[in-house]
C-alpha cells in the first residue's frame, strides 16, 4: 500500500511520528498512469504526501491556480484571495520575493475558508491552511534560500457531486451559474459540449444529478432538469442558437467516414461528437425517423415529437447524413460497411423487443396482447396519424418501470374505460420515476401492487381476462431486502380487453450480429469492453444494446465515450489515456467527495416546479403535460444552487499523458 509520509485529512494530522492518528485507507493510489507514481495528493479536506521531496509551494501553487481559474468571481474573498495567494506562491516557486509572506497567505486562506460564498471558495484553502498550520517549517524551508523550485508534474481537477453523478459529466453548477448570470444561451452551450439533445434530456432525464444534489440537505434538490429544459426551450424562434459547420475545429478529409447504426440517443450522441471531431458520419436507421426509443418509446405527452426532431436535426446541420429504412442484417451487413470504406462502425441498436412474461396462455393470445414496446410503437403511430388506435374496455399493464407508466398513461389517453397497472412488489419498490407514478395516479390509473399475473385467459385468441395471484413480502434477508412470494389460493381473475406486458426489453435479432462477428453476452446484449469496443476490431457499441434497457443520459454518455474511442482507434489504433477519468476514479474509489457536515445554516427556499396541465384535461390528449417554467422562476431556481465545487490535484513523478479532447 502507498505510504503516506505526512499529511492532514479532515483535520487529522499524520506526521510520520509514532502514535500519530491513522489516516483513511487509500485505494488506487499507487500509480496515476502506467509507471507514474503519485507523489502527493491535495483535496478539499486535506492533503497527503507520499514522497518527502515533494515541493509544497509548487503543489499548492498549482492547486490555487486551478481555484483562481475556476473562481466564479461572485464573492470577494475567493475572487481576490485565490489570485493574491496564487501570485505569491508563483513568485516563491520562481525564487522571487513574494508580495505576501506566509502569515498574510494564512490570513487570506482563513478569510477564503470562513467567508466564501460557495463550496469552491470554502474548500480551496483547506489544504493550504493544513500545511501552514502543521508543516510550516517544511514550506518555509523551501523558500529560505530564494532559489527557484523545480517544477513538478501533475494535474488539478474540479468537480462537484452532481457532475460526478451525471453519466455525461455535465458541468451542472456552471450551467446554472450562466442562468443566474443572465446568459441562458451560454448555459445551453455548456450542455451542448456533452450532447445535442438538451431539450429532450430536460424533459425525460431520470436526474442522477438531482439525487446527488447537496441542496437536499437544506430543503430540496435544485431543479436541475427543470432548468435544463428552460434553457433549451429558450432556443426557439428567430433567436435560436445556430449550429454551423465552423463548430468543427479540424474537418477531416472525405475518406474519414464512420457508420453509426441506430438513430437513438446513443447513436445521435456518437454521431454528434464524431462530426465535431471532423469525421463524415452516416447514420443508418431502420425506422423512417430519428430518435430511436426517445421517438417511439417516450409518448408525446412527455416529449413532443417536434422537440425531438429539432434536436436530431442538429446532426444534419453539422453535415451528418441519415439513411432511413436501413435495417442491419436485412439491408446491409457490417462487412458491407467496411467494404464501403467506413473506418469504424458504432452500434447503437437499443433494446427494441419486449420480453414476454412466460405465463400460460400468453403464446396463444393474438388479439389484445401487446408487449410494452410494441404498444408504445402503436401509440407513436397513432400520434403521428399513421394508424389511429382507439382502446375500449379494460386495459391491464404488467410492470413497474417507466415503460409500464408510459403504457398506462397512453392507454387512458386512447380512451380506455379503466386502466390497471399490475406490479408484483410494493409501490415503493417500483423502479419508475416517482413523478411518473404520481402523474399516473393523478390520471386515475388503478394500481394493483403485490399482485402478479399467472394465466392469460383468451377466447379464440382474443384476450378476455387475466388470472392474478396476490403476493406478500418475505422477511428481510441479510442485505435487508424483502422479497415477495405468492400467497397460495389467493388467485382471482380480472376482465381484460388489452393486456400489455411491460416487464423488460432485449436486443432485437441479436443473432444477426453474431454472424457479423459481434459477440453477445449471456443476456444477449452486445459485449463491449472498456472504451466500448466490441469483439470485432473497429466496431464499437453503446447504449441499451450493451447495457440492457437503461436511460437516455446513459445512452448519450455512451455515445460520447464511443466517439472518443473511435477517434483514438482511427487516429492511433489504441485508446488514449483519459486523465480526467483517472482522477474521477481516484476520487470515487476513496469517496472523497463527501458532504461537509459543518455547513452553516441556509435559508429555506423550495424548488420551483414545471407547471402542469390539469389531470382531467390532459388524460384525454397527447399534448405535453409539463410546461416550461417562466424566466422569473428560472432566475429564482438558479439561485438555489450552492456550487459544491471541489478541487483535487495530484503531483506525479512524470508528466501525465494528454487525454482525448
Amino acid at each position: 500500500m502507498t505510504q503516506v509520509v505526512y499529511g492532514v485529512w479532515d483535520g487529522v494530522v499524520q506526521d510520520g511520528q509514532e502514535g500519530s492518528a491513522p489516516l483513511p485507507e487509500l485505494k488506487n493510489f499507487e500509480q496515476f498512469d502506467d509507471g507514474n507514481d503519485i507523489r502527493a495528493f491535495f483535496g478539499d479536506r486535506g492533503f497527503f504526501v507520499f514522497d518527502e521531496k515533494v515541493s509544497l509551494v509548487d503543489a499548492l501553487f498549482h492547486y490555487m491556480n486551478k481555484a483562481a481559474e475556476q473562481s466564479c468571481g461572485a464573492c470577494t474573498p475567493c475572487r481576490m484571495g485565490t489570485v493574491l495567494v496564487r501570485d505569491a506562491l508563483d513568485k516563491m516557486r520562481r525564487g522571487l520575493d513574494a508580495d505576501l509572506d506566509f502569515d498574510e497567505i494564512e490570513m487570506l486562506g482563513e478569510q477564503m475558508r470562513e467567508t466564501s460564498l460557495c463550496g469552491l471558495g470554502r474548500t480551496c484553502a483547506v489544504s493550504l491552511l493544513d500545511v501552514l498550520h502543521n508543516f510550516r517549517e517544511k514550506i518555509e524551508a523551501e523558500v529560505a534560500d530564494h532559489r527557484p523550485i523545480r517544477a513538478q508534474h501533475g494535474m488539478a481537477y474540479m468537480t462537484a457531486p452532481c457532475i460526478e453523478a451525471c453519466p455525461s459529466k455535465v458541468n451542472v453548477p456552471r450551467y446554472i451559474d450562466y442562468i443566474r448570470d443572465g446568459k441562458p444561451e451560454s448555459s445551453l452551450g455548456v450542455l451542448l459540449q456533452k450532447y445535442p439533445m438538451a431539450a429532450t434530456c430536460g424533459r425525460v432525464c431520470v436526474r442522477y444529478c438531482e439525487m446527488a444534489c447537496q441542496r437536499k440537505f437544506v430543503d430540496e434538490a435544485v431543479g436541475i432538469k427543470t432548468l435544463k429544459r428552460f434553457v433549451a426551450d429558450q432556443q426557439k424562434g428567430p433567436n435560436a442558437l445556430k449550429f454551423t459547420r465552423d463548430m468543427i475545429q479540424r474537418p477531416l478529409d472525405d475518406s474519414m467516414k464512420v457508420a453509426v447504426i441506430g438513430a437513438g440517443p446513443a447513436g445521435i450522441s456518437c454521431a454528434y461528437h464524431l462530426l465535431l471531431h471532423g469525421y463524415k458520419v452516416d447514420v443508418f436507421e431502420k425506422a423512417d425517423q430519428a430518435g430511436g426509443m426517445a421517438q417511439i418509446g417516450i409518448p408525446s405527452y412527455r416529449l413532443p415529437k417536434d422537440t425531438l426532431a429539432m434536436e436530431t436535426d442538429i446532426i444534419v446541420d453539422l453535415g451528418g447524413r441519415f439513411l432511413f429504412g436501413q435495417t442491419l442484417g436485412q439491408d446491409f451487413s457490417i462487412d458491407d460497411l467496411f467494404r464501403q470504406g467506413y473506418k469504424a462502425v458504432f452500434l447503437g441498436l437499443g433494446c427494441q423487443q419486449g420480453t414476454p412474461l412466460g405465463i400460460e396462455g400468453e403464446e396463444i393470445a393474438r388479439d389484445g396482447y401487446h408487449s410494452g414496446i410494441d404498444f408504445l410503437l402503436k401509440v407513436h403511430d397513432h400520434v403521428d396519424e399513421i394508424a389511429p388506435l382507439n382502446l375500449k374496455g379494460e386495459v391491464v399493464v404488467v410492470g413497474g418501470g417507466n415503460v409500464a407508466m408510459d403504457c398506462v398513461r397512453s392507454a387512458i389517453r386512447l380512451g380506455a374505460d379503466n386502466v390497471h397497472v399490475i406490479y408484483r412488489r410494493t409501490r415503493e419498490d417500483m423502479p419508475a420515476d416517482h413523478e411518473e407514478i404520481v402523474a399516473a395516479d393523478d390520471e386515475d390509473i388503478f394500481f394493483h401492487t403485490l399482485c402478479n399475473p399467472t394465466r392469460l385467459i383468451t377466447e379464440n385468441g382474443k384476450v378476455t381476462g387475466v388470472e392474478l395471484v396476490r403476493m406478500e413480502q418475505t422477511e428481510p434477508d441479510e442485505s435487508g431486502r424483502r422479497n415477495v412470494r405468492a400467497i397460495p389460493g389467493s388467485e382471482f381473475t380480472m376482465p381484460c380487453d388489452h393486456f400489455i406486458a411491460a416487464i423488460g426489453q432485449k436486443v432485437e435479432d441479436g443473432h444477426v450480429m453474431e454472424g457479423d462477428g459481434i459477440a453477445l453476452d449471456k443476456w444477449q446484449c452486445v459485449k463491449a469492453g472498456d472504451g466500448l469496443s466490441t469483439s470485432r476490431p473497429g466496431v464499437f457499441a453503446g447504449g441499451d444494446c450493451v447495457t440492457g434497457p437503461s436511460t437516455l443520459i446513459y445512452a448519450m454518455a455512451a455515445g460520447l465515450k464511443a466517439a472518443r474511442s473511435i477517434d483514438d482507434w482511427i487516429q492511433l489504433g489504441t485508446p488514449r489515456f483519459f486523465k480526467r477519468s483517472r482522477m474521477r476514479d481516484l476520487i470515487n474509489d476513496n469517496k472523497f467527495l463527501g458532504r461537509d457536515v459543518n455547513e452553516p445554516p441556509v435559508r429555506n427556499a423550495y424548488r420551483v416546479h414545471n407547471p402542469e396541465l390539469d389531470p382531467d384535461l390532459r388524460k384525454k390528449m397527447f399534448g405535453e403535460v409539463e410546461q416550461t417554467i417562466s424566466e422569473a422562476a428560472a432566475y429564482k431556481e438558479s439561485q438555489r444552487c450552492m456550487r459544491c465545487y471541489r478541487i483535487y490535484s495530484v503531483v506525479t513523478r512524470q508528466s501525465i499523458p494528454e487525454g482525448a479532447a
Binding site: A74, M158, P601
Partner: protein, 619 residues
Amino acid sequence: MCTDLDIHADRDLTEATIALTINGQPCKGFPNEPILQCARRHEIYIPTLCEMDDIDHTPGTCRVCVVDILQEGRKKHQTVTSCNTPVRDGMVVDTKSRKVRDMQRLQVELLMADHLQDCATCVRHGDCELQDLAQFVGLTENRFFDRERTLAREVDCSSPALIRDMQRCVRCQRCVAVCRYHQKVDALVMEGTGIDRFVALRNGSDQLNSICVNCGQCVLVCPTGALGERDEVERALDYICDPETVTVMQFAPAVRVAFGEEFGMKAGSNVEGHIISAARKIGVDVVLDTNFAADVVIMEEGTELLGRLKEGRRPTFTSCCPAWINYAEIHFPDILPLLSSTKSPQQVLSRIAKTYLPEKMGVDPSKMRVISIMPCIAKKDEATRPQLQIEDGVPETDVVLTTREFARMLRREGINLPDLEPSSFDDPYMSEYSGAGAIFGTTGGVMEAAVRTIYAVVNGKELENVELEQLRGFEGVRSATVDLGGPVGEVKVAMVHGLGDTRALVEAVRSGEADFDFIEVMACPGGCVDGGGSLRSKKAYLPLALARRETIYNVDRKSNVRQSHKNEQVQALYRDFLGEPNGGKAHELLHTSYTDRRREMEHTVKEIWDDLKMSTIVY
C-alpha cells in the same frame, strides 16, 4: 411598480418565535429570517455593502456583513454572512468580536484591491457607500490595491446618457437586480469569471447599442461611482459664460420637489424659487419652466387623442417619457404606431424657445442655447435623437443636466441653496404654468392633466372637481373609466409606472387582453419624482417617493389655474404663433416620429463555445 416600498412593515411580532442572542442581547427572529434583518429590528448595526433591503437584494457577494455564530448543540463557531444566513433557535451571534471585525475589515480591503480609488475625482465623492463602509470597518491600510489591473477594466462611454465605469464597480449586482427583477428590462448580465468578472450588457454590446433604455434606475441603486450620467456641467457652463449666446434654462416639474435634500433641506420641500434664484446667480439669461411646456403638451396630445378616438384608433400611449420611448422602440417596435406623436415637454419647450421666444424677444434664434435640468438620464439621450434636431448640428435642446449634475454645478459656483432668497419666474412668454402641468412629474399626472383639458374641449365647460382621485393611486398599473361626456362618452384609461408593469401591460395590449383608450407610461417607478437622474439615496431605493409626490399635488392645489388650456401664456402662444393645436405649424414643430430599433440577438453555438473556453473547461 414592482417594488414593495415597505416589505417588512406590519409583520406580526408574535410570529417572531425564534429565540437567539445577538451580542449577548436576547432577540426574537422570524422563521427563516436572515440574521441581518433580525439585528436591524433590534437596532444592532452590522456593516453591509451589496445588500439592499428596499429591492430585496441579498446576493451574498460582498461578504462584508460576516458575523460569528454558534449554533445550539455545536461546539464549533462559524463565520457566516448575516444577510442571507437564517436565525435559528438558540443561536449565539456575535457581530463585533475581534475576529469578526478583522474579517469585515479584510473584506473591505479586498474589495478595494481592484477598485479605482481616485476618490477626489469621482462623482460619488462624499456620497459613496464604499467610502462610508471603509470608515465603518475602520480600514487603515490598503495592501492589495493593484492600479494597473484596475485601470485595465472597461469604462463604457459610448452612450450620450449613461456611463458605466467598471473600474469603480464592486460587483454588488444591485444594478442587475433592479434591471432584471424590478424594471424587467434585463439588459445586464454578469460576464466573465474570477478576477475578470464584471457587469456587462446583454449580447456583448456597448451601452449605446444595447437593449438598455437608459431609465437610470441602476444608477439610483449603485453604491459607488461605477454608474452615472455623462457629466456635461462643463458644456453647460461654456454656454452660460459665453456672452454671445442667450442661455435659456428650463427645469422639469419634478426637479423642484426633489432637490432640496441635497442641501440639507427637508425631503419634499418645494424649492422652485431657490432654483430660479440659483439659475440667475450663475448667469442664466432666461429661466423658463418645463411645466409651461407640459401645458402645451396637453393641448397637443389631448387634441391628437380626440382625433384618434374619432378614428377609432386605440389605445394611444403617452410619449413624454424618453425611457419609455426607448423601450418601445427597442423592445416592442410593433406598438410604435400607438404612441402619441407629441414631443415631450423638454423638447416642446426647447423648440418654442428657439422659435417663438427669440421672435418675441427680438433676438437671433441661432444665439439661443437651451439647458434643461431633468431628473432623468434618458433625457440626455432624447436630446440627441436625430428626429429632434432643428437642423444638422442644431439640436432643440443643447444640454441636459440631471438633477445631480445641477447640484454639482451649483457647488462649483459656491451656491448653498438654502442661503438664497427665493424668486419667481418673470418671463412673460413661457414660464407660467397650470396645476395640470405641475403634476406631470408623478405617475397619473399626465393622465389627470389630459382629462381636465379634454373634458373642457368636449363639453365646453370645466370639470367640477379637478382632482381625479381615481387616477391617483400608487399601484403599478391603475385603470379607470372616465366619462368625458358629449360625443366621446366614457373612455377607459390606464396608468403604469415602472417598466416591469409596463411590459405586462404592453403584452396585454398586444394580445388584445387589455382594452384601453389612453395609457400613460412612466418608465421609472413613481414617475419623474424618482427618475434615474434624481438625487441618489444611500442604501435605499425610492425612499422619498411619497413625500415628493405630495408636494407636487400641493403645487397643483395652490395654482390659480389648474387646467392647461386656461394657462394664459399658452393661449397667447397658440394665438400669436402656433395657430390650432396639432394644426399645421404646431404639428410641424411639436410632433415627432419613432423608429424600430430592435436589436439583433442571434448567436451561433460556435460563438458561445468560443466565449465558454475562457471561463470553463470542456469536460
